[in-house]
């Protein structure tokens, strides 16, 4: 299979630029080309402008500054010859067939034989795109449909044509999977492919029904949100995000491409209210607002549009009796005898039926459609999982009762489910009516799959230890939000003893959306409220001892985080021999946000890292200063690459782009450390003592006067400064680990009794936001 070592993206709009950034995030050099603007003094102005916007994008498009340097902007008049160096050329220009085809002719003349060309089109069929082009082009051509923003949306729809070389398709699939971290779903060359075909139908159903039933948009978003497993932005929040003005275009383009019998046409009625909003400039968050707006004249009041009158009114909290009455039962919601219940049914019933209709049309596999909606629209569960949840037979009977068409796929599944677990394996119903094992891409190992056919080695209410084969054990957090509590510490201690006896290595990993957001604050506050200071101190000590035992265990330990790894979740990683991190890992010691200092060895480990790996000037202050400026403002790395810059990760730690490959990579890393494993030598830290503390105090005072630090920040930073400078030590007296841990513990205990800290913890628990007291 051909390697992809250099990439070109043509079209520096939002999608093209975002794709180029993700290629750069993978460490691959990428050319970003666009047209030469009329009367240009700078012929690369468009691509250069796109690169500048990428650098400032929020959420960030680049994972590091180094990645940004891998993008070379240019134009398609002067730099086409450079395509000859590229192994993959992605076209992401405007959705016009004539423009795309004339560009393809130029690409064909410039590219090297065997390179792959793909289009990011979302509306034009592949068969049309290759029309009239030479067979050499058609055989190297496919559609790679990314979702916005390309860094964060994990779905890639891959469409090959009859002429596409299998090796060309495989080269792109492999690159997109391993390097870009995408979950690649094969779609057929049908309009809208999978996710947008179903997603647009769903959105249109939700809008049309809401408008025609005259519901309040807050209620609608509440109904389609949590109960259906859809992000809480709901429908109207989502449309505000993507832009209302896109709706008519996307609908029209789908309507034009779909055959007359497609159920979409029945829903594709104009919505005068949407047209009115667009005409008035309410195109969504990029404009002056959309269905929701912030009214600055009314003191930044959040307002919602009234679907009946078209006027804005103050937004209110959703109030849907049907949700409360239904509890956790989705069918109860869909059956609820109220406008809201009927709305829920009309939207979800239609959408699920349409999903079943798409089976065999947009994709042949249930899992492809489920995965497309999970990753392309952030649904918690795919439509066939939802069908299984309400029951195929329930859905069929309800459809019949309403007099709506029942798609053949639902008849096929009658009396059964689309997904099932058989003998510890996941199986999916195929179009042939038989169940087939769900096959993961080669090398993908998921803990959720493994758990189906084994019992945990150890388990309690907050964690579990699993045997993941080849002598490797996996420690999994199972607590709410994966917050770290005494049960986790307890099981971790037991696991260390067990792994020592029965395994070669340990991986710390879980499949939650976040590795761990830190210690369980609720417990800490509860203990503080009843003045259980001894218990709190015991929690701190136990954490220190357990993490230290992990660090010096006689077997290698590999941390494998994805998502947030904050506070205590960061500290456990700092005590691992190595980390294999998902590229989208957000690490930080954020304790100061709740008025505390890292107390489970975080200060100690960061001091040790910056002293040994920091490449800093000599003397006792530079490492202390670095750790202080990182921890005192609760810096969180926005990617694994950034975590390396901040030394939350070591330069030698691994990064996995594809979330689904993280466990396999972490296990391989752990096994690679087994032979000749020697636990690390304990660090000895030379810290500046009170002189260094005075220097940090000067900085804190300055921030305070600048208004960048609050009064309690000054208290917390002061305690942090004491820990990091080594208390009352002197540069001539190096400290060992236990002495620094003692400083962490004593300053933590001093702060946790402080009313300012308790107020911060309480606010964090109540609002999820830091209190700036």
């Amino acid at each position: 299979m051909a390697n992809i070592d250099k990439v070109a993206v043509i079209g520096a709009g939002t999608m093209g630029a975002g794709i180029a950034a993700q290629v750069a995030n993978a460490g691959i050099p990428v050319l970003l080309l666009d047209i030469v603007p009329a009367d240009a003094t700078n012929r690369n102005a468009i691509a250069e402008g796109a690169l500048e916007r990428l650098k400032k994008a929020d959420p960030a498009a680049f994972m590091s500054r180094d990645a940004a340097r891998l993008v070379t902007p240019g134009n398609i008049e002067d730099h086409l010859a450079a395509l000859a160096e590229c192994d993959w050329i992605v076209e992401a220009v405007i959705e016009r067939l004539d423009i795309k085809q004339s560009l393809y002719a130029k690409i064909e003349a410039a590219r090297k034989p065997g390179s792959v060309v793909s289009s990011n089109t979302s509306t034009i069929p592949l068969s049309a795109l290759i029309g009239g082009l030479p067979t050499t082009f058609a055989s190297d051509f496919c559609i790679t449909h990314f979702f916005n923003p390309p860094r964060y949306m994990r779905l890639l729809e891959l469409v090959g044509g009859p002429a596409t070389r299998p090796e060309a398709l495989e080269a792109v699939r492999h690159f997109a999977d391993h390097r870009l971290g995408k979950s690649v779903v094969e779609a057929k060359d049908r309009p809208g492919f999978i996710a947008n075909r179903l997603g647009v139908y769903w959105l249109q159903a939700a809008v049309i029904e809401a408008v025609e039933m005259g519901l309040d948009i807050e209620d609608v978003d509440a109904i389609v949100g949590r109960p259906m497993g859809i992000p809480k932005t709901g429908v109207f929040g989502l449309l505000d995000l993507v832009g209302l003005d896109l709706m008519p275009h996307v609908n029209a383009s789908l309507a034009a491409a779909l055959p007359a019998e497609d159920p979409f046409h029945a829903l594709n009625r104009p919505v005068p209210l949407v047209d009115k909003l667009i005409a008035e400039g309410y195109t969504g968050r990029k404009g002056k607002g959309g269905f929701y707006r912030v009214n600055r004249e009314a003191g930044k009041r959040k307002e919602a549009v009234d679907l009946v009158t078209g006027a804005f009114r103050p937004a209110r909290k959703a109030d849907v009796e049907a949700i409360a009455a239904a509890g956790r039962s989705l069918t109860a919601l869909l059956d609820h005898d109220s406008p809201h219940g009927r709305y829920a049914w009309r939207v979800l019933g239609r959408t699920l039926a349409y999903a079943a209709f798409l089976l065999g049309d947009a994709a042949d596999e249930v899992e492809a459609i489920d995965e497309a909606m999970r990753l392309g629209y952030n649904w918690k569960q795919g439509p066939f999982q939802l069908i299984d949840k309400v029951g195929v037979d329930w859905l069929v009977s309800r459809l019949e009762r309403e007099g709506w068409a029942v798609p053949p796929a639902l008849r096929l599944a009658a009396g059964r489910t689309f997904h099932r677990i058989e003998a510890g394996r996941r199986q999916v119903l195929g179009l042939d009516g038989a169940y087939h094992d769900l096959v993961r891409p080669e090398g993908v190992v998921l803990l959720d799959d493994l758990k189906l056919n084994r019992q945990p080695v150890l388990k309690n209410g907050s964690a579990a230890l699993w045997d993941i084969g080849d002598g490797v054990a996996c420690f999994e957090f199972t607590s709410k939000m994966n917050s770290i509590d005494s049960e986790i510490m307890d099981l971790l201690g037991k696991s260390i003893r067990r792994v020592k006896k029965d395994f070669k290595a340990l991986v710390i990993y879980n499949e939650g959306s976040n590795f761990s957001a830190g210690a369980n604050l609720g417990l800490a506050l509860f203990a503080a409220n009843i003045a259980a200071w001894t218990e709190i101190e015991q929690m701190v000590t136990a954490g220190q001892q357990t993490y230290r035992a992990l660090k010096y265990a006689p077997f290698p330990v590999v941390g494998a985080p994805s998502g947030m790894a904050l506070g205590g979740g960061c500290e456990i990683l700092l005590h691992c021999d190595a980390v294999q991190a998902h590229a989208e890992t957000y690490v930080g010691l954020v304790e100061v946000g709740v008025g505390l200092v890292p107390g489970w060895g975080g200060c100690k480990e960061m001091l040790s890292r910056w002293s040994s790996l920091g490449n800093l000037p000599k003397g006792p202050m530079p490492a202390v200063g670095k750790v202080f400026e990182t921890v005192a403002v609760a810096t969180v790395a926005k990617s694994a690459a950034e975590a390396k810059e901040l030394l939350f990760l070591r330069p030698s730690d691994g990064v996995t782009m594809n979330r689904a490959r993280l466990l396999a990579d972490a296990k391989a890393k752990a096994l690679s450390l087994v032979e000749g494993y020697v636990p690390p030598a304990p660090p000895v830290l030379t810290l500046p003592g009170p002189s260094g503390k005075v220097a940090l105090d000067l900085a804190i005072g300055s921030l305070r006067r600048q208004g960048k630090a609050t009064p309690h920040d000054e208290v917390v930073s002061g305690a942090l400064a004491e820990v990091l400078t080594g208390g009352d030590t002197d540069v001539t007296t190096p400290l060992d680990e236990e002495q620094v841990l003692e400083l962490e513990r004593s300053r933590f205990m001093r702060l946790v009794r402080h009313p300012g800290t308790l107020a911060r913890i309480e606010t964090m628990l109540l609002t999820g936001k830091p209190l700036r007291n």
Binding site: L616, P617, K618, G619, P620, M621, P622, P688, P690, S691, G692, K693, V694, A695, D697, L698, S702, R705, Q706, G707
Partner: protein, 378 residues
């Protein structure tokens, strides 16, 4: 009595720390090129130089060792030329001039290179290992006070409004831009060759600075304060050097004499308002020269901050129209160790250009001091 004169002045371009064109140039290389150019332009036999006296405010890292000796080697000065690195923070290289004058008058040498350098990019203010004395810090917190805080203190104590400071800053930029555009810096600037090519122009001047643009800035040091980045001198990379010798030597070697050094002084003050340091130092120097403020034709008053400049002008009764004719540090930049030699050299050149009789160069110094030099036309 013997006269000591300034017979040469050069400097590097001054560029903003971190983002300027000199950020990638080591301070020893920077100073080396400036010293080499000074000696070459003067045409004197380098072996005649007694000592290279180099000011530097944070002499560590790339500014460490005996920086002056290394700069002498980089500049290819003969091994017989001595070298000492002097530190009086912002007053460092003006001190090197004073030491040279004293030595010449003591008969301990005829020719001195008095230079200064600071790369505020490569060696941060406070240095890499700030380790204040805890007992002193507790007893006298102002011993380690930040410079911005002193600027706020001066503004408060002297009742200097933000608007006044901004007006002052606008004038500084306007004068510097006018001087640059008229080519009045060309004679003093030595092109510097570094990793990214040759740097020939100052980088801190913002001719488009207006009262409106300054009014938009947030206070830099105190949320409630009146001092902004726009009314402070920027962190700067740069080097400067003057040739100080006896008048006899200058005449014997046909050197162009810019001015004679008539008197000088240092004077301590409260570190919390270090910006008023020039007041005491200037009064002493004037008195030693036996002249009055009214006799000054040219004044170079280092603009560490607009607030302290205005306070000094007011306290000393300086004629504003004679202060910083080609702009000051707010526009040009303030590479700590290099500023003293720059303003002595600048005052001497201006005295000649303006055909005046007396000139003053003075500056404030962190920790609470002032330093001043009175020059006289020859």
């Amino acid at each position: 009595m013997k006269k000591v004169v300034v017979a040469g002045y050069v400097r590097s371009p001054f560029t903003p720390a971190k983002k300027g064109d000199l950020a990638s140039v080591r301070p020893d290389d920077l100073a080396g090129q400036v010293v080499q150019a000074l000696v070459a332009r003067s045409g004197i036999p380098a072996g005649d130089i007694e000592d290279l006296l180099l000011g530097c405010a944070f002499p560590e890292g790339e500014q460490g060792f005996n920086l002056a000796r290394l700069v002498g080697m980089i500049a290819d000065l003969p091994q017989s030329v001595g070298a000492a690195t002097l530190n009086r923070f912002c007053g460092s290289s003006m001190t090197s001039v004073h030491v040279a004058v004293g030595s010449i008058l003591a008969g301990a040498g005829d020719v001195f290179v008095c230079a200064g350098v600071e790369s505020m990019t490569r060696v941060p203010m406070m240095g890499f290992n700030p380790l204040p004395n805890p007992a002193l810090a507790a007893r006298l917190p102002a011993a380690y006070i930040g410079m911005g805080d002193t600027a706020e203190n001066v503004a408060a104590r002297y009742g200097i409004s933000r608007r006044e400071q901004e007006e002052f800053a606008v004038v500084s930029h306007r004068r510097a831009a006018a001087a640059r555009d008229a080519g009045r810096f060309e004679a003093e600037i030595v092109p510097i060759t570094g990793r990214k090519g040759t740097v020939t122009a100052d980088g801190c001047i913002r001719p488009d600075t207006t009262l409106e643009s300054l009014a938009d800035l947030k206070p830099a040091f105190n949320a409630e304060g009146v001092v902004t980045a726009g009314t402070s001198s920027p962190l700067t990379d740069g080097a400067s050097a003057v040739l100080v010798c006896s008048e006899d030597y200058a005449l014997a070697h046909g050197l162009e004499i810019l001015a004679a050094i008539r008197s000088f002084a240092v004077c301590g003050c409260d570190p919390a308002v270090m910006g008023i340091g020039p007041v005491g130092a200037t009064r002493k120097a004037l008195s030693r020269a036996g002249i009055e403020v009214g006799q000054l034709d040219v004044i170079e008053l280092n603009e560490a901050f607009a607030s302290q400049s205005i306070a000094c002008i007011r306290d000393l009764g300086l004629p504003v129209e004679k202060v910083n004719l080609d702009g000051g540090a707010i526009a040009l930049g303030h590479p700590l160790g290099a500023t003293g030699a720059r303003i002595v050299g600048k005052a001497a050149s201006l005295l000649k250009r303006e055909k005046g009789r007396f000139a003053l160069a003075t500056q404030c110094i962190g920790g609470g001091q002032g330093i001043a030099t009175i020059l006289e036309a020859v």
